[in-house]
């Protein structure tokens, strides 16, 4: 039987490139490729004839199901000769007007083996097919893009890479943050806030930098987009706490239903080709781009309601069950809800999505629109989002593919003032009659709701990829992209407001423009027999322009709707910066016998934020993989096994102004005044992180057991540390210097197993286990320094370590002895465990569940600490107050005196462990066909999210997953996470209906 020629096609070149493109078919060829393969198959050879339209014709209908359970497989790509289609949620596909003849049917789906068979079509007849796909979680010929110069088969890649197939998720993700949560080993997504609009902190293998952003780079279809949060909605100068605790994430402008899949690479061993700014990892999102075939309409609506779980302490500080004395009972609220009961409500979210996709082999499209209307659990929380997307892919010539993807979203947020502020709801309610109003009466506290916090965020991402492949073994690719993320904020305390009687207002405009230019070429050729080389080279430039302009005023003439113009006192603030990062790379992949792979590469980078005396920086990489299961000695019964190891370097650049000695100018009585700002450092460069990792991927027991294991260790040299200057030498801001050395290591284990596989019943289970332990190896002579929120960088300690005062004699019945520099532990989890379980049930039902545990981290709890030092009577101390109030402290140990008596109190005593478990998702789903013609279907999902949670710190009022702060660093912007006045992540009940026609 003749083998169809399999041409390794350098698809959508470069790791920075967008998703997989259809390779260019030559005449008579059809591209039968999507996720799991890159072969071009000669349809004519397979079918034995050229399909030509003839009348009359037949119909081919079929259903794609899972082997064993017969559960429907949606979104599988079905190829019938030269025609393509996609199975709907019920697994059904159909081809009409098929000329009589014999065709090859191919079906592909991530996680399953490719299915191929012949089918004969007869005029005026309907041919029914049942296509049974066999699970194959580890597909070594699956194409991955991220971290490679172009596209690579998984077998070639020496580093760990995670793929999330969004179309086959059992859950209904509410956002991209939600979509990523718990989906890959080493990936930690921390929710930060129970309010609407808050972005999550994303960490890949923990923190890589002590001073720079640890948020990974985000690419959407090859275009770099803003990954750090937007500025907090607060007054442009002065106290930044006058706000809520959230920072909006640009990632959540992407509608999850537009996403096809996500690739995650976690560290420098994989991200070398991205250069200076990629040390924290790279997440690449691939959006849907349509399938060849008849137009397909999809309508989806998600309706959900959210409620706040109980979050008050259940124990006193001494570890005993909490007893609430009569005198502490608040008629307006309960400890369970931190006395917020009068304001908490049920939140609702209504989302509607309509999309259309289809096209021909040489032109495909995907267009969608979505609108969301959400009210949060806090009284003013409201969010609306509207988004549109258009993705177009055309092949004007056989050797040329052009793609253009554009999305635009607009968001309007109204937030409840719940931050660490005198005007904050959470803060005042929790302090009862010892708050800023001197009253626990909701009528008094509710005056803070006159504080208006509104934001509008517009986000445009547009980019094109031009791929030119003049020869089978040579291809080039050019990507041009533009990301515009703009935020308008309004922070308004009207005239007569409780905390600012004459009122104040600020209007802020922020924009971030990221321009991507990315070129790469790959030349594949045979060096010797069985030894091939894929040589790649390219250049990339990323320019980021940020503008932050704000105006504020206060003291209005009287009531009424005001603008900045109306305040008696006003000011303006303007910040602008432009950072350019550009570089070259070269890489060669040596392929011996299609099972030994060695990759050598290097990136050469420059950055406008480097010191003037610093030249181009070079980041090398080397990796290897070995498909041991392709060896003749490998027993077939053991399945597939790939061994891999990788070493690479990447970096993090300093900020735009860090290298230059500068002064700030302030207004002082109408004249300018110079203040020292930045000391400057001509030799300032990137911190350089080296990472080595090794591991294996295996699929055995007929694909029923899949294991992915990775060990990694990374070392950051020239770490950028904020070296403090002696105040007596001018109190310059801490100067970044390349002096430190950090190390972190860990293991990542992912296991997926098919436990039961019977007709109409199946049980799949999996878990991931990830660890991360970091340590400061050297401070380079610098003194230990704080990076805020009790986070310190100290030699021999985690990065950062949560440090503060502690009580030296906690168990003694004596006056507390205060001890300085006590280390509690790291600020990021040292261990993360996720567990998943999904059941295939009769009647096309499925039930899935996912839980996540994070442990080992510590943080300062702002709400607890700030209350106790103010003499607020705090629930965690209720058990101790009777003795304290009586003046007889003989039964009160020092640890309790320190935490419950302001005479001994210190904020640092409110440092708590952040260990928690959450039942992230529980979803019941049913898919079924609709009798509306074609391949119409419906899918109904009912799910509960965060239905159950557990936290280790039972004596704290906090949700360990939230964050907040008094300063500009709130939510995802926090370098060191502290837990503030944010309400907990709510539990959500959701019903989703998706109709496909």
């Amino acid at each position: 039987m003749p083998q169809p020629p399999r041409l390794l096609v350098a698809l959508s070149l470069l790791g920075f490139a967008p998703a997989i493109l259809h390779a260019v078919p030559t005449p008579g060829q059809s591209l039968a490729v999507r996720y799991s393969d890159v072969a071009i198959t000669r349809a004519a050879e397979r079918s034995g004839r050229t399909a030509r339209p003839e009348r009359p014709a037949g119909v081919v209908r079929g259903r794609v199901v899972v082997e064993g359970t017969n559960a429907a497989v949606g979104n599988a790509q079905v190829q019938l000769g030269t025609r393509g289609a996609q199975s709907n949620d019920a697994g059904v596909f159909a081809f009409a007007n098929v000329p009589a003849g014999t065709y090859t049917v191919q079906v592909r789906m991530i996680g399953f083996e490719r299915f191929t068979r012949s089918v004969t079509v007869v005029d005026n007849q309907t041919t029914e097919l049942t296509i049974t796909l066999k699970r194959q979680s580890l597909s070594l010929d699956q194409i991955v893009v991220t971290g490679t110069p172009g596209a690579a088969r998984r077998r070639e890649v020496g580093n760990a890479i995670s793929q999330i197939d969004v179309t086959s998720l059992a859950e209904v993700p509410a956002s991209v943050d939600n979509l990523l949560q718990g989906k890959a080993t080493g990936l930690t997504v921390t929710g930060n806030s129970g309010g609407v609009g808050g972005g999550a902190s994303i960490r890949l293998r923990g923190n890589v930098s002590a001073t720079q952003s640890n948020q990974p780079l985000i690419y959407v279809d090859g275009v770099r987009v803003k990954s750090d949060g937007f500025p907090k909605n607060t007054f442009p100068t002065g106290y930044a706490g006058n706000s809520d605790n959230t920072v909006y994430s640009p990632l959540n402008d992407i509608d999850p239903s537009d996403i096809d899949r996500v690739e995650v690479i976690k560290g420098p061993a994989a991200t070398t080709l991205y250069g200076t700014e990629a040390a924290s990892g790279v997440i690449q999102i691939f959006t849907k781009r349509g399938q060849a075939g008849a137009s397909r309409w999809t309508f989806q609506t998600d309706q959900s309601m959210s409620q706040t779980p109980k979050f008050g302490p259940t124990q006193g500080f001494e570890g005993k069950d909490l007893v609430i004395p009569d005198k502490e009972v608040n008629p307006y609220g309960t400890v369970d809800y931190l006395y917020l009961d009068p304001w908490l409500r049920t939140g609702y979210k209504h989302k509607y999505v309509l999309s259309l996709d289809g096209g021909r082999d040489d032109a495909k499209y995907f267009v969608s629109g979505a609108t969301t209307n959400e009210t949060g659990v806090l009284p003013l929380d409201k969010a609306t989002q509207s988004s549109v997307r258009g993705n177009l892919s055309v092949m004007p010539r056989k050797d040329l593919t052009v793609q253009w993807n554009t999305s635009f979203s607009t968001n309007n947020l109204t937030k409840t003032p719940a931050g660490g502020t005198a005007a904050g709801l959470t803060l005042n309610a929790s302090r009862r009659d010892r708050n800023y109003f001197g009253s626990a009466d909701p009528a008094q506290i509710g005056r803070v709701l006159d504080f208006q916090l509104t934001s509008r965020i517009d986000h445009l991402v547009t980019g094109g990829t031009l791929q030119y492949q003049p020869k089978e073994n040579f291809s080039t690719r050019l990507i041009l992209g533009y990301d515009l993320a703009a935020q308008e904020t309004r922070n308004y305390m009207p005239y007569g407001f409780a905390t600012v009687p004459k009122g104040q207002i600020s209007d802020g405009r922020y924009s971030s423009r990221t321009t991507t230019a990315d070129y790469a070429a790959t030349w594949s050729h045979a060096l010797f027999r069985d030894l091939r080389s894929s040589l790649s080279g390219g250049a990339q430039a990323i320019a980021v322009d940020q503008v932050n302009v704000a105006a504020g005023s206060r003291d209005f003439p009287g009531p009424g709707e005001q603008t900045v113009s109306n305040g008696a006192l006003s000011l303006g603030v303007e910040d602008r910066s432009r950072v350019i990062n550009a570089g070259l790379f070269v890489q060669d992949v040596l392929d011996y016998k299609n099972r030994y792979f060695l990759t050598l590469g290097a990136r050469f980078d420059g950055n406008s934020a480097f010191g003037q005396s610093l030249g181009l920086q070079m980041y090398p990489k080397v990796s290897g993989s070995y498909v041991v299961s392709d060896e003749s000695f490998w027993p077939k019964s053991l399945g597939t096994m790939k061994l891999r190891a990788a070493y690479g370097q990447s970096g993090r650049a300093p900020g735009a102004f860090d290298a230059v000695r500068t002064w700030s100018s302030y207004s002082w009585g109408g004249v300018a005044a110079f203040i020292p700002r930045n000391l400057g450092n001509d030799e300032l460069g990137p911190e350089r992180t080296s990472e080595i990792e090794s591991g294996f991927e295996t699929s055995t027991l007929g694909g029923r057991l899949n294991v992915d294991f990775t060990w990694y260790q990374r070392t950051t040299k020239d770490a950028l540390f904020a070296v403090s200057q002696a105040p007596s030498e001018g109190l310059w801001a801490s100067q970044l210097e390349n002096v430190g050395k950090l190390r972190s290591d860990g293991v990542e284990l992912g296991v997926n197993a098919t436990l039961i596989q019977r007709p109409h019943f199946g049980w799949d289970a999996g878990f991931t286990y990830s660890t991360n332990h970091s340590k400061v190896l050297s401070l380079g002579g610098a003194a230990p320094f704080t990076i805020g929120n009790n986070g310190w960088v100290v030699e021999g300690s985690p990065v950062p370590v949560i440090r503060g005062f502690c009580v030296a004699n906690p168990t003694e019945f004596a006056t507390p002895v205060r001890q300085a520099n006590c280390n509690s532990g790291p600020n990021t989890p040292t261990r993360t465990i996720t567990g998943t379980s999904s059941f295939t049930l009769p009647g096309d039902f499925s039930l899935s569940t996912r839980g996540e545990y994070q442990g080992g981290a510590f943080a300062y709890s702002l709400l607890d600490g700030e209350a106790i030092v103010r003499g607020i009577r705090w629930p965690s101390c209720f058990n101790a107050y009777p003795a304290i109030d009586s003046g007889d402290l003989s039964t009160v140990p020092a640890s309790i005196r320190a935490r419950c008596m302001s005479a001994f109190a210190n904020r640092d005593y409110a440092i708590f462990p952040l260990d928690f478990f959450r039942l992230r998702d529980l979803t019941l789903r049913r898919s079924f066909p609709l009798k509306m013609g074609g391949a119409s279907s419906a899918q109904v999902s009912v799910s509960g999210q965060n239905l159950f949670w557990w936290k280790k710190a039972k004596d704290s009022l906090i949700d360990p997953e939230t964050s907040g702060g008094f300063n500009n660093q709130s939510g995802m912007a926090q370098q060191v996470r502290s837990v503030g006045g944010s309400i907990p992540i709510p539990r959500t009940f959701l019903m989703s209906v998706r109709l496909t026609y």
Binding site: Y239, R576, A582, A783, R870
Partner: protein
């Protein structure tokens, strides 16, 4: 298998691709020169036009440091009573009961140290840019020296030790010596500037001469040079005042902190006059220098021994822009009064106090029966005159050191009445300084 021709063609494409990559690289990868607007590069500070802004920077930072030093020392000296509000515009718990400890008091040291460094740097740069001859009669130089003098005076009175440019800690008296030197130089330069200029500039310079003499009188008192102090004080008219201005832009950190931390306009209600000797005195005298208002409200938070503290806000500073007196003619009269008491001359001392009170619109003080009573009165008088100006702790330290007669009220010294568990009379070195200064032990 590829033919030779195909291979050659492929290599040609490859070369073209590499060439294109090289072109792109030359365009993109090599041009990293970016000039971002905003912060002023250091090189521009040598321009003559930048000198005024540098001198203003000294005043700005001195005012910032005083904002914290005045408020925190007022609580330790029980010029004000804490209500329990800490953190934002509040008072920290150890400060509530009289202690000024490193862990809570970094800001006064850091801000005032920055002001000191800036004051020295501004003088160096002024001399460098103007030249010695022009400097000796330049109004901006006179202003720079005045700020330098007051910066060192505040440091000398408020801080426990002196540290210059990351050097070792020396007695705080060294700050006072430098202050005296700065004021002496300021007298010469301001006098010359007044003579060399006309109009408003000359008037301003002449005003600085008074400030310099008054400032030097202050530090000479601290240094124990009473002859010099009285000599300088005599040159200062009773009505004369020189203020540290605060300006009301929108940033609340620039406001008079003593006012903003406890006013109905700001909501913080961090301090109260309740529980202080000054409330008692005002109730009986209505002396406008210690005015306050009684309200039915309580402060934010709670002071545990008391619970919720009645909120009686001070009325000395009623606006965000209210300036804090750095030196005045009324202080000059009190210097003269204290000098007289040191010579047991009660009559002269009372005459000076009367002059002071008359100028302030305060009632005439009762005549003391004894020298000790006169000292008590003088100590009260300085407390009243400098109320909420950050001077009280230095006076307490000075009087303790010189063992002068006269008593302080129980409400302002440690004890059950004042709820003071102790009383630090100077601010410690900040942790930031200790951690970064190689001459100090962390």
């Amino acid at each position: 298998m590829h033919t030779y021709h195909t291979r050659r063609a492929s290599r040609g494409h490859a070369l073209r691709g590499v060439a294109l990559a090289a072109v792109l690289a030359s365009v993109t990868a090599c041009d990293f020169s970016v000039t971002n607007p905003g912060p002023t590069a250091d090189k521009f500070l040598t321009d003559t036009l930048s000198l005024v802004a540098q001198v203003n920077g000294v005043a700005f930072t001195l005012g910032d440091g005083m904002n914290y030093q005045v408020l925190h020392s007022a609580v330790a000296a029980r010029e004000l009573f804490p209500t329990g509000q800490s953190g934002q515009f509040g008072i920290e718990p150890r400060n509530w009961v009289g202690f000024l400890v490193t862990e809570e008091q970094g800001t006064p040291w850091n801000s005032l140290s920055r002001a000191r460094w800036l004051s020295d740097q501004s003088i160096i740069r002024l001399k460098s840019v103007l030249g010695d001859a022009a400097f000796a009669k330049h109004p901006v130089a006179a202003q720079g020296l005045i700020w330098r003098g007051f910066t060192y005076r505040v440091l000398g009175e408020a801080m426990c030790v002196s540290i210059v440019d990351g050097g070792p800690a020396t007695p705080s008296r060294d700050n006072l010596v430098r202050a005296e030197s700065a004021f002496t130089a300021a007298i010469a330069v301001a006098t010359a500037a007044s003579a060399a200029t006309t109009g408003a500039t000359a008037t301003t310079a002449a005003n600085l001469v008074n400030a310099a003499y008054a400032g030097r009188a202050q530090v000479r008192v601290d240094l124990g040079d009473w002859t010099g102090a009285v000599s300088d004080a005599a040159r200062v008219p009773t009505a004369y005042k020189y203020l540290m201005p605060y300006y009301s832009n929108v940033d609340e950190y620039g406001y008079n902190r003593t006012m903003w931390s406890s006013t109905a306009q700001s909501f913080y209600k961090a301090t109260s006059v309740w529980g202080t000797w000054y409330a008692k005195y005002y109730d009986s005298s209505r002396d406008p220098r210690v005015a306050y208002t009684q309200t039915a409200l309580t402060g934010a938070g709670a002071f545990p021994p008391v619970g919720r503290v009645p909120w009686w806000p001070q009325s000395k500073y009623l606006t965000q822009t209210a300036g804090v007196t750095l030196v005045s003619g009324r202080e000059a009269r009190l210097i003269e009064a204290e000098a007289a008491l040191r010579n047991s001359d009660i009559a002269t001392a009372m005459a000076k106090i009367d002059a002071n009170r008359a100028s302030a619109g305060a009632p005439v003080a009762a005549r003391p029966a004894t020298l000790a009573d006169a000292w008590t009165l003088l100590k009260q008088e300085r407390g009243i005159e400098f109320w909420l100006e950050g001077r009280r702790l230095a006076d307490m330290r000075r009087w303790t050191a010189s063992q002068t007669p006269g008593a302080l009220d129980a409400l302002e010294i440690p004890g059950a009445t004042s709820y003071l568990e102790g009383q630090n009379t100077c601010f410690p070195v900040s942790r930031e300084e200790t951690n970064t200064n190689p001459n100090l032990t962390p």
